[in-house]
Structures are given as structure tokens and as C-alpha cells.
Amino acid sequence: MNIAIIKYGMGNATSVQKTLKKLGYLSVITEDHKEIEQSDFIILPGVGSFAAGMENLHKSGLANLLTREVVFKKKPFMGICLGMQLLATYGNEPYKCLGLGWIDGEVIKIESSQNLRIPHLGWDNVEVTENNSNFYKEFDNLDYYFIHSYHFLVKNQKDVVLKVTYDISMVAAIQKDNIYAMQFHPEKSQDAGMKLLKKIIDQYA
């Protein structure tokens, strides 16, 4: 199976590839349209600001290509951290702008009424929701590594499969058909992360 990790100038592609290798999957870090079209699974990693991420995806024509591959051709897809947030209708970092629009909702700054420290940084336990809980229940209450100052307000609660509480309840992971995405970094979450990556990717192997 060929996994394409999208290269668009936004961070942690190397870490994702390293963890996939540990799990025994081959992957390429690529921005080449042909290579992405020929892949069996697409991963959009990312660290940085929403607006810069979208700009880079548009500049290289990747935004249209990804929408064609994932939304229309239903190729399995995983977004990580910024790679999850970019699926939203709108983002606000640092100014309001359009996202890929695959998942209805908006990415907004985390506001804590109890003056909790921002970013939400460190290991935090996730909670399963009622959506596809058979698949996700083994991950209930496991700790994953988060680092984010913005969070995804998802419009349709049925798209949300894992949540995390940091003063407010936030989206930790999304699934909509062939689209999987997480706010935390599974590639940096040691065993708990590898277990989740393996379970998702193995469905398509």
C-alpha cells in the first residue's frame, strides 16, 4: 500500500513518516500531483497557522487535487492537527479565511473561562462519543499529545468521534466516511498513537 504524506511547507511530515515506518508502512512525502493520485491513502500533516496552510495548499494546486481525490473519488484520508483544522469551512488564524470545507464548522481560538494556560499543550485523555463507538471504544480515555491554541467547532455532531475536555469540551477526532482526522498528534503519542494509526490504516491495507 502506498501512503502519500502531503508536503506543503507546514511542518511535521518527517515525524509522521518515521512512525509509519515503525508500523511497517511505506510512505512518500510528496507534493507531486501524479504521485498523490496514484497513492492508496493520503495523510495531511501540519503545524502552523491556518491561513498560511490554506495559502500553501492553493498555491501548489493541492487544495483542488485533494478535494477531487478525497471527496469525489473517496480515497482514504487522514488529517493531523492543522491537517484536521484545514478541513473546516472557515478558519481564524490569524484572520478569517476559507478552509477546504469538507467538514462543516469553524476553527476558533480556545477561550478558557478559568484562565487555563493556552496553548492546550501536553498529554490529555480523549473520550469516545456515540458515533462509530465500536471502532473507537478501545481508545477511550487513552492519553494523546495535544498542542494547539485553536479548536474545531464542528457543526454536525455525528462527525465527531473523540472529544477532549480542557475547561470546555473540544473536538479531538473526526470521522466522516473515508475522512479521518485528529487534533492531537498520533505520531507523537507513543503506543496509543501507533495503535490508532494502525487500526485506521489497516482497514485499507
Binding site: 511542518g11 515503525k22 503545524v47 499543550l121 501536553g122 498529554w123 491554541s149 507513543q190 503506543d191 501507533m194
Partner: protein
């Protein structure tokens, strides 16, 4: 609930892992960096910090090849610092898989730099190292340009700068293994709104109980305690947990293929 993090801080001299006392320039050699990273990964520590502590002084760049070997051993987040002088330096570290970069001297010399860095890479991956030295009853910012900067002035000036975390080290307690400077932590945690990693002074589990019961800190850095005592990160987590603060205890159950 967000867990309290235990973070080994590996300090590197350019040749080997070393451990200083009070930041003195005659550190003790304590081993091999890649080997240490491997051990801490196996122990499932929450994060790792690696600092080349003499890179700036010796005006050299960090050894990217070695940093890459360290990162390759780590399946948890890694922060790297030492000799960062340009935006390209940060880019190079992030490109080989560093999750965060630690900046100190460059920020003291040119505070604008951190704004550029945060605009380019996002403030979350920028960690500011603050080394505090107590002289008589006052705290100052320890720095190599020998400027006398009161710590409180410095902290107020940086409140608007963009960074995602600070590592707060007590120079007086560094390597002394006599406990954390609680007064310093209480002073800083009121002013700084980003996550704080407290370091300097860890010597036994009681020190961790004291820190986590008397402050609202969520992360702690330590080194000597891992080199010179029998305590492991797990022992320290049990200590933190005993004062009713949450920690991440890992059950080994998942074995990857490779």
C-alpha cells in the same frame, strides 16, 4: 484532564552529554546523547528536551546529524535548542522532526526575532528558555552579555511576544539536587500565561511533591536525578500523583511490527 509532564533535559557540550552545577563551565560528563534518548523513549517519558548549552558561546551551529539520530529514537515530542541564530536554523531543526525549538540568547539580543519565528512557524513550536539567577533577594535574567536585567522587568516586557511555552530554570539550584525554587515558580506562574516547564534542583521524589502541591505548574524538567540516583520518571510520576495531580502512566501493551 491535562497530565503533568516529566521531561528529561539533556544538556550537551558539543562532545558529550554533560551535567552542570549552577551553570558553571566545568560540567561533568554523563554519557552518550543518542543512547540516553533511546532509554528515555523506552521509559515512555512525556517529552524530551535536548540543549547544546555551549553552541551560542562557541559561535557554532548545533550538530544536525546528531540531533537527527536523537529524534529518530523518540516517539514522543522533542524540543531542541542551542545556537539558534536564524530563521533557517529553526527550519532545519523542524525539517528533521523537532517539534519545538528552544531559544534564549538570540531573544535577549534581538526580541524581534521571536516574532519573525512565530509568524513563520507558529508560536506553538517556539519555546523560550528563561534562566533566573537569584542575587541576594532579587531575581535577574542570567545572560552571557552580562547585562543586569531584573527578571520581573523582563517577564513584563515579553508578555506580548509570541511563544508557546517557557522553560524556567533556576541557575542557583541547577545540578544541586536540593529542591526546586518554589518562590521563583510562584512569581513567574502569575505573570506568564503559556505552559511553563520548571527545571533546576530535582533530587528526590519529595521535591516533586513539594513543587506540584505548592504551585499550579503542569510540567517539570530534570536531569541529575536520572543520572545520579535510582529514581526513574515513573517513580516521580507516582510522587506527583500522590499529591492529587494527574499524570500519564503507560501500560505497555502495544508492540509495533518493526
Amino acid at each position: 484532564m491535562l497530565k503533568c509532564r516529566i521531561i528529561p533535559v539533556l544538556t550537551f557540550s558539543g562532545l558529550a552529554l554533560v551535567k552542570t552545577k549552577k551553570f558553571a563551565k566545568n560540567p561533568r560528563m554523563v554519557g552518550n546523547a543518542v543512547q540516553a534518548a533511546k532509554v528515555f523513549n523506552a521509559r515512555n517519558v512525556d517529552e524530551l528536551v535536548f540543549l547544546d548549552i555551549y553552541a551560542s558561546d562557541q559561535k557554532r551551529k548545533i550538530n544536525l546529524q546528531m540531533v537527527r539520530s536523537i529524534i529518530n529514537e523518540c516517539f514522543m515530542p522533542v524540543a531542541i535548542g542551542g545556537g539558534i541564530d536564524t530563521i533557517e536554523d529553526i527550519h532545519d531543526l523542524l525539517a528533521i522532526g523537532a517539534d519545538k525549538v528552544v531559544i534564549k540568547n538570540k531573544f535577549i539580543e534581538n526580541p524581534e526575532f521571536i516574532i519573525d519565528a512565530a509568524d513563520t512557524f507558529g508560536s506553538q513550536c517556539i519555546v523560550l528558555a528563561i534562566d533566573a539567577i537569584k542575587i541576594e533577594d532579587d531575581y535577574y535574567l542570567y545572560n552571557r552579555i552580562n547585562k543586569k536585567i531584573p527578571l520581573l522587568d523582563f517577564l513584563k516586557n515579553i508578555s506580548s511576544a509570541s511563544f508557546g511555552e517557557i522553560i524556567l530554570t533556576s541557575v542557583n539550584n541547577d545540578g544541586m539536587m536540593n529542591g526546586f525554587d518554589i518562590e521563583l515558580v510562584q512569581l513567574v506562574e502569575k505573570i506568564v500565561n503559556v505552559p511553563i516547564v520548571v527545571s533546576g534542583g530535582a533530587g528526590n521524589p519529595e521535591h516533586f511533591k513539594e513543587l506540584f502541591s505548592r504551585t499550579n505548574i503542569e510540567a517539570v524538567g530534570a536531569a541529575s536525578i536520572f543520572y545520579f540516583t535510582r529514581y526513574t520518571p515513573y517513580d516521580l510520576k507516582l510522587a506527583i500523583s500522590s499529591v492529587e495531580r494527574p499524570v500519564r502512566i503507560v501500560k505497555k501493551e502495544f508492540i509495533p511490527n518493526n
